[in-house]
Symmetry: C2
Subunit: 177 residues, 2 copies
DNA sequence: CAGTACGTACAGTTTTTTCTGTACGCGTTA
DNA sequence: TAACGCGTACAGAAAAAACTGTACGTACTG
């Protein structure tokens, strides 16, 4: 086997692993492979180059790259004299990790907290209402406790994300052990 | 609207939010709803009760509950005199969070690290080989650097997971702010 | 030792997601 | 201003997944 092939294989294995890994968090394998491909490129790629690299449609490249942009796993690059859009992988995996989970966690927090606060208010009024059936009353009280605990947890998660975004986490878990 | 209905609605909203949230991380909405339903139950449920609760097949409940078990989001409960399997939601969300991401992250680390180490070795030998084409040689060197960085990142991630599993993280980001 | 209850493997169906090709709007070029 | 190149919206096709019902192995029950 010649050197080029060896290089190719070595990359391919890692790209596949990256892809599987991303797949664990709900990212399509194709999108994962695209990220992997970009990761090993020296420079940024155009949609057409990606299409050739992965053997997929340009449409797919367009949508996939947009997903990666939203996750901040790739960035758009401007290059003088080049009309096509250029994209390159964010090479710093610490940063990728932080962005990826910060985005997801904040989204989740926001979904859950707003639902919980709304429900919590309803349950409060249910408990305060004299006419509420005693069984319902008891269950509502239990639910209130659960939701209160959950909200406390979300406060904690928010602070965890803060420590990621501010890089404070690296004071606690340093990059170089 | 009567009290029971109100309670039901309040719960339903939160269950839906939980489900959406879990869906962000690649967990099916159905599985999310099952967790949510279990979360609001006072006691553990049997597969048949879940089936009735969610209006789905028993087979689905069986497979869904297994997924939740693997994520340690539910636990199997033994109750004297009851032949059916009983499951209940892990109520502590800090713990759920830790388990969920520890499991996922460790899996990802293991996939990626082993692929990277293998490829790294191949690339090393490629670089050491005198006969390697100079362009390939240069690219291999670059890849080696990338993989070395990535492995360093995975070492960090491993330590982060350690701090989760050991609860040390709560020293840095305390539960009560 | 039947008979029954339970959980799940498996195959088939339905639903959802992913992927592609065409068509179009916009901006650049000649 | 016409012609071209680019990225993407959209609709349909292909692939994947979620879900169900049946059937079966195992473990209790009488």
């Amino acid at each position: 086997m010649n050197g080029e092939k060896k290089l190719e294989h070595a990359r391919e294995r890692v790209i596949e692993a990256i892809s599987q890994n991303m797949n664990l968090y709900g990212v399509t394998e194709s999108i994962g492979r695209l990220y992997g491909a970009l990761y090993f490129q020296e420079g940024p790629l155009t949609l057409d180059e990606m299409k050739d690299e992965l053997g997929m449609s340009k449409t797919s490249m367009s949508t996939s790259v947009r997903s990666l942009l939203e996750l901040k796993m790739v960035g758009k690059v401007w290059k003088k004299g080049v009309r096509k859009d250029l994209y390159q992988a964010e090479p710093d995996w610490y940063q990728t990790f932080i962005d990826f989970f910060s985005i997801k966690w904040r989204t989740g927090i926001s979904i859950n907290v707003s639902a919980m606060e709304k429900s919590l208010a309803e349950l409060q009024s249910l408990v305060e209402d004299e006419g509420t059936d005693s069984k319902v009353h008891a269950e509502a009280k239990q639910d209130i406790e659960k939701l209160t605990d959950a909200l406390e947890y979300y406060d904690w998660l928010n602070r965890l994300v803060d420590s990621f975004e501010s890089k404070e986490i690296f004071n606690y878990i340093p990059k170089n052990s």
